[in-house]
């Protein structure tokens, strides 16, 4: 019988692709919302402003939903209107969260359709709490790098970011990034020894050489708007590859609510509801792999437990990366124009060494090129005309460091279901509290970064550092951890559930520790590892 995979995010598609390569039949069930066709795929961002009939509709949305107004209380993600489909989920699945602001996706490719491409393998310190040796993941990192194409360089960050095979050359730098890197090279000794700060090239899933039918990045400046040439990898590309296999069956347009099992708790079917509405369907499953993303996978498991036993357990250990945004101004760029045809996401990244290697702080350094500036200008305390003048003058100097912090599993950070007393599914509920030392860690890293940026000729404007709410890191994990201990609601090192036979969990729910890095590359690699070892 076919192996059923739930979800087409990074874990699901790489798990499926590995199984197909091993000769298995795979059925992938997916809500599967698809993006609109790319508009004028060979044009740069500014050319769209000149050549589209109604450019404001493209950039701001038909209902101006892309305009960021000061009264918007939610965290600003800068997601363009035509990428909002990624985050649209039915009202029935709305959750309640305390201290956490989660995002969900029904998109083909999942939340990674909106990722920034960061590919940073975990090192042996960061994998110390995983119940398998770090070397077990190395071949999987190599395999994923070969499939998706990663550009970067082995440089000063190598002690923190292990090398892997199939690394393409790095993306070209813009002028501001180049100035930063040159200054870093001149001041390397003091920055490394005095501040514990290291700077290097980003490793991103963006091509600098052709790979299959994908072309290298042509620097259209449209990364945030959705790479129209597929140079920036997204999981839907792997889904398309899976669709070429005769052993692959794709069931889009439905979302899985639970799975059924027999008296011996062996999984035998999944229950799915059509996204468009209608009666649930049942799909037989000999073996089931949950790859719906940590929170959705947790929801499916909890719902299945509730339906089979009436129990409503609370799962602890919810994790996400705290992110702190540190804007800076590279004063050497003052008065210089920026090149609009450029890679839009980060081309540099940095690491801050701390006492415990696993608690390394990772930062993504983005120098501003093409971007909507009305969200920036309105942040200044000036009237908008003056703010516009200042923003124009400073535009090419502006940059942003997104500092990421590690997280640990703590049992009081829980996810559970709350019955609603109507026909709707019980509501997914979660509560999160940061660790007691978080404030100190954030302050320390921000202080180190401010000082290091000053040495690099950059200033951090006062009052502009912003700690994003938990949940906005979108690196959810930890609710069904892989462990060697035989405990309920955990998974074995091969991702198999200790509670249900025939069930494996292949997404971030199984991570027992969350380093300060983008986890998508490791999600894909771990899914490959599980498919290779458990099937």
């Amino acid at each position: 019988m076919s192996i059923v995979v739930v979800g087409s995010g990074p874990s699901g598609v790489h798990f499926a692709q590995t199984l197909l390569a091993k000769g298995h039949d795979v059925t992938l069930i997916d809500a599967g919302r698809t993006p609109p066709d790319p508009v004028m795929p060979d044009r740069g961002l500014n050319e769209l402003k000149e050549e589209l009939d109604d450019p404001a509709a493209y950039f701001l949305g038909r209902n101006f939903e892309g305009v960021s107004l000061p009264r918007d209380s939610d965290e600003y993600y800068g997601i363009p209107p035509h990428k909002q489909y990624i985050f649209d989920v039915p009202p029935e699945l709305e959750c309640r969260a305390d201290g956490f602001e989660p995002l969900f996706s029904f998109a083909q490719g999942g939340l990674a359709q909106a990722w920034t491409g960061g590919c940073y393998p975990f090192n042996e310190h960061e994998l110390a709490e995983f119940p398998f040796p770090a070397e077990a993941l190395s071949p999987a990192y190599d395999e994923v790098a070969k499939r998706i194409g990663i550009s970067g360089l082995i440089d000063d960050l190598a002690p923190f970011i292990p090398a892997h095979e199939h690394l393409q050359g790095p993306l070209p730098l813009d002028e501001s990034s180049e100035i930063l890197l040159r200054r870093y090279e001149r001041r390397r000794a003091i920055l490394n020894a005095g501040h514990g700060l290291y700077l290097g090239r980003s490793r991103v899933a963006t091509l600098t050489r052709p790979l299959g039918d994908r072309e290298p990045c042509s620097r259209l400046g449209r990364c945030l708007w959705g790479c129209p040439t597929s140079s920036l990898y997204t999981p839907e590309l792997t889904l398309k590859e899976c669709l070429r296999s005769s052993r692959f069956r794709y069931v889009p347009g439905v979302y899985v609510t639970s799975f059924r099992c027999d008296d011996r708790r062996r999984v035998n079917a999944v229950v799915a509801k059509p996204v468009a509405g209608g009666d649930p369907i049942e799909i037989p499953a000999g073996r089931l792999a949950l790859a719906a993303g940590a929170l959705s996978t947790t929801r499916i498991l909890l719902q299945s437990v509730f339906e089979s036993s009436g129990e409503l357990p609370r799962l602890g250990g919810l994790m996400d990366n705290r992110q702190v945004l540190v804007p800076f101004s590279n004063l050497r760029m003052l008065g210089r124009p920026f090149e609009p045809r450029n890679y839009q996401y980060n081309k540099l990244c940095l690491g801050i060494e701390v006492e415990r290697p696993a608690e390394y702080v990772h930062g993504l350094v983005t120098t501003l090129t093409t971007a909507m500036i009305h969200p920036i200008a309105q942040q200044l305390p000036l009237d908008l005309a003056t703010a516009l003048y200042v923003t124009r003058a400073m535009h090419s100097t502006l940059g942003l460091v997104n500092l990421n912090f590690h997280d640990t599993r703590r049992e009081d950070n829980q996810v559970w279901l709350t019955p609603r007393g109507d026909e709707n599914l019980p509501r997914l509920t979660m509560a999160y509290r940061p660790p007691s030392d978080e404030g100190d860690r954030l302050r320390y890293a921000t202080k180190v970064l401010r000082r290091a940026l000053l040495r690099l000729g950059c200033v951090v404007p006062p009052g502009m550092v912003h700690a994003r709410p938990m949940g906005s890191g979108v690196h959810y994990s930890g609710t069904l951890p892989m462990t060697l201990e035989d405990r309920p609601y955990t998974t074995r090192p091969d991702g198999s559930s200790r509670d249900f036979d025939g069930l494996v969990v292949v997404d971030g729910a199984t991570f027992p520790f969350l380093p300060a890095k983008n986890i998508t590359f490791t999600l894909m690699a771990n899914a490959v590892r599980i498919a290779e070892t458990a099937f």
């Binding site: 101006f64 305009v67 008065g335 210089r336 009305h374 009237d383 003056t386």
Partner: protein, 132 residues
Amino acid sequence: MTSFLMGAAPSPYVVQKYREAHGAHLGLNAQDRFERLLLSLVRRPGPLRRPAAAYARAFAPKGAVQAKLIVLLAILESCSPTHVVIDAPPRRGAVSLALGVAARGLVWLVALVAGTLLLHPVRWWWRRRSEG
């Protein structure tokens, strides 16, 4: 208001999109008499325009005046030819530009003080009357 932001008149496309934005439930309509006054001052070229805009940003940052200006800026930066002006730095050397930024900052400060001295009493008086 385009002339306030850009020093030039809006194109017909910008006017059309700005009108459409007002039908999009963005809360762009003035809520009270004082907001209408602020709006009329910001719309009209003259010495009170900048003090009114500075006052709106400082004391009514979520009000209709600031929202209208932001929506207008968003439209202007989305289309040609205004995006070219918005994307380019003012044509000056680095030192001259830094001085220009400082000078604009000074003008803003004067405008804010003037706006506060002129408009705060009006706001206080109208609020008192409406409450009384």
